[in-house]
């Protein structure tokens, strides 16, 4: 049974769903802004900071001994502050564990550190990109408390993965059109092109995605990008057959229906699974006054990570507390002005999903065209 009663007011629902951030994220409890009056944190405090960035099951001492080429005893001496770290050792630790010293020291001329890999055909192919997402979700699974919040511009890509026809269309579009992969330039889209390996990775990601509690903030315009991409390929004759176009539309409709089904139950489950078997909450808010930017906030045992999409489907990751805290406050604010449609709000929910279906229908029946074909 859903933990939030349908009788509960919306404001109460908002409070309950966001309270997990405040309980677990230390940056929310106290203002982490620069305070030059604060004493410089000592070396044992630095190692406690490093510890918080590593999953609990990993031995920090062994890891440090390995990267610093030191004995276990020597590592312990450093962790206890009996032996000072050198600049070289500090650099190795920060580089290995992606620790920001600016954040730790709270200097005001601070930089926000983001990690990223750039999708390209030679160095980081789409298969590796998907595998990295899969590995990231596996990493999330190592934590006891894990939640994600998604402020959408488009639908989160995890929604596409269980639906092979629309998923493969998106894969194809990203590689051929967004990223200009040379191997794709002469190809037309055909259903079945990528169904074997990429679809399997995508399906695994989707399964893990259903194992995390989620809040998503949707917009009725989220569907537009995909519809325009289909339109672009229709205009450019990049579909191998008219039948494939219909299959892609059908698949998109199935995806939207499954999203609606999960929203009705307020639970995440895979296509075909019984909703009552689902364990984890799926909270959906809708708004049309702000189009998101595909920012995703993930909380793992109290530590927050922010994923920010750039250049199409590439993403930057940061654990910078100040940046995460600001993003979280912003998302909370958008939520407070949005309508909650999971489990409750049948009228608003039906209207929202019907608006999406109307848009699909309008494009499918060629009542709306791309700008190239108005």
């Amino acid at each position: 049974m859903h933990k939030f009663s349908a009788k509960m007011g919306r404001q109460q629902v908002v409070y309950h769903k966001l309270v997990f951030f405040k309980d677990h994220h230390p940056a929310v409890k106290d203002n982490p802004l620069t305070n030059m009056e604060q004493p410089i944190p000592n070396q044992p405090e630095f190692f406690r900071h490093v510890r918080s960035a590593v999953p609990a099951h990993i031995s920090l001492v062994d890891e440090l001994a390995d990267i610093l080429h030191l004995s276990i005893d020597s590592v312990y001496r450093r962790m206890r502050g009996e032996k000072e770290l050198s600049l070289g050792e500090l650099q190795l630790i920060c580089s290995h564990f992606k620790i920001s010293m600016d954040t730790f020291l709270q200097v005001s001329d601070r930089r926000m550190s983001f990690s990223c890999r750039y999708l390209d055909q030679e160095n980081f192919h789409f298969r590796e990109y998907l595998t990295q997402i899969l590995d990231t979700f596996r990493f999330f699974q190592q934590f006891n408390h894990k939640d994600m919040v998604y402020l959408t511009k488009e639908y989160p890509i995890y929604h596409y993965f269980p639906f092979p026809e629309i998923a493969s269309f998106k894969y194809f579009f990203w590689m051929k059109t967004y990223l200009n992969f040379p191997e794709m330039q002469k190809q037309k889209f055909r259903i079945g092109h990528f169904l074997e390996d990429l679809t399997e990775i995508g399906r695994e990601i989707s399964i893990l995605y259903t194992k995390m509690r989620s809040i998503e903030i949707h917009n009725p315009d989220n569907i537009l990008t995909t519809l325009r991409q289909i339109e672009y390929y229709k205009d450019s004759h990049f579909f191998e057959s008219a039948e494939d176009i219909e299959k892609v539309y059908d698949s998109l409709c199935d995806m939207v229906s499954h999203m609606e089904e999960q929203t009705i139950h307020g639970k995440k489950f895979m296509k075909g699974a019984h909703p009552h078997s689902a364990q984890l909450d799926y909270h959906v808010y809708v708004t049309d006054f702000y189009i998101g930017d595909n920012t995703q906030l993930v909380t793992l045992d109290g530590r927050m990570l922010c994923y920010k999409v750039h250049n199409g489907v590439n993403y930057l990751t940061s654990s910078d507390p100040e940046f995460c805290r600001h993003s979280q406050r912003f998302v909370e604010n958008v939520i407070s002005k949005s309508t909650y449609i999971s489990s409750v709000g049948e009228k608003e929910r039906s209207r929202f999903f019907n608006m999406i279906r109307e848009k699909i229908d309008a494009y499918r029946s060629n009542r709306i065209h791309s700008i190239a074909n108005v």
Binding site: Q91, V107, F114, D221, R228, Y290, M355
Partner: protein, 355 residues
């Protein structure tokens, strides 16, 4: 080397290689030295901060003795230096700088100052070019139209950032104070001095229309007349964009086209809802600017990030249609499509979540 549809070729001399420990230490001391007042003894200053002898300070400055954890922390804290920029944070790490709007901490006036200062840095540097791929209409155009700007300011402070000082405040066209209006004028003047390439989408206007719709349905406008002023201001903005695209030059709405000195190149497409991302090509550097949480922005000079973003935009451009200085039929169609949208929202013919 970067070459692309926009025709800009910055020199490829800027290069960040991963530094070894000694180089990091030397760079750190050089940075501290640059910030020192003329006439001060640098080794004595370091000796004083670290509570060591002048000889010991010399050994550290020359890189003969490696700095320790407490010494590094002391120097960075006392000099308020970013250590991350020296350590490099490892492969695949990009350092961004920027502040985010927060009531009482970083107000809208501070935000405008940061925008102005960012543009000022490149004012006298040549060559330069700003390339922008939009999700929304570029904020620089809001800044040029006072009625629309007043509305956007109200939405940003009240809706997006929940400023307490705006919670009970009603919308008015006089919300911006004198200092903010002056900053906007400075930004406008700097912005039209930069050659730019804009990648637009007919959906860029949707956010504005939905925001007006939200206030229309929630009774947020003081009068129907106020709402009409905002719609008219938005239409004026679209007219100005079209005139600029027609001539391929940039100028301020309050001035005449013959004052324009810098070019604007406009491409349109509709298959990618942009990221509100910009790259600024400045002499031999690329500055990447990413927008986040509404209108906040962060920037980096990371070369790899800049080159990737630049190439991504070049690719979008290759699949887009040029409408500035050429393509009259397509340009007219594009701007009429935007006007049709405005008309549909204005005449209540578009469904919103509330309607």
């Amino acid at each position: 080397m970067l070459t692309g549809a926009t025709g800009f070729i910055p020199s490829p001399t800027f290069n960040i290689a991963k530094m070894d420990t000694r180089q990091i230490q030397t760079t750190l001391f050089n940075t501290i030295r640059e910030s020192q007042a003329a006439g001060d003894s640098f080794p004595e200053k370091i000796a004083g901060m670290l509570d060591i002898s002048t000889d010991s300070a010399y050994r550290r400055i020359r890189g003969e003795k490696e700095l320790s954890y407490s010494e590094i922390c002391t120097l960075c804290r006392q000099m308020n230096l970013s250590l991350d920029q020296f350590l490099g944070m490892g492969d695949g790490q990009v350092l961004f700088s920027g502040n985010s709007i927060e009531e009482g901490v970083f107000e809208f006036t501070d935000y405008l100052k940061e925008v102005r200062d960012t543009l000022s840095m490149v004012e006298h540097v040549n060559p330069k070019q700003l390339i922008y791929q939009n999700k929304d209409i570029s904020v620089f155009y809001y800044f040029m139209f006072p009625d629309l700007m007043a509305f956007k300011y109200y939405v940003w402070m009240k809706q997006h950032f929940s400023f307490k000082s705006f919670s009970q405040r009603e919308f008015s066209f006089d919300l911006l104070n004198k200092e903010q209006r002056e900053l906007l004028n400075q930004i406008n003047r700097l912005f039209i001095g930069i050659p730019s390439v804009e990648i637009m989408n007919p959906d860029n206007v949707l956010t504005d229309l939905r925001q007006i719709e939200y206030y229309k349905l929630t009774g947020g406008f003081g009068s129907a007349g106020d709402m009409e002023r905002v719609y008219k201001s938005l239409e004026s903005l679209v007219d100005h964009l079209e005139m600029q695209a027609t001539s391929g030059r940039k100028w301020l709405p309050c001035e005449t086209p013959d004052t324009a000195t810098q070019p604007i190149t406009v491409y349109v497409h509709d298959f990618h809802h942009g990221d509100n991302e910009a790259v600024m090509l400045v002499n031999d550097q690329i500055i990447t600017v990413l927008t986040h949480t509404s209108i906040n922005f962060m920037r980096t000079t990371d070369r790899q990030m800049g080159e990737y973003s630049y190439q991504f935009m070049q690719n979008i451009i290759r699949k887009s249609t040029l409408i500035s200085g050429a393509g009259e039929k397509f340009r007219t169609r594009f701007f009429n499509l935007i006007r049709e949208r405005i008309h549909l929202f204005r005449s209540n013919q578009v469904k919103s979540l509330q309607r």
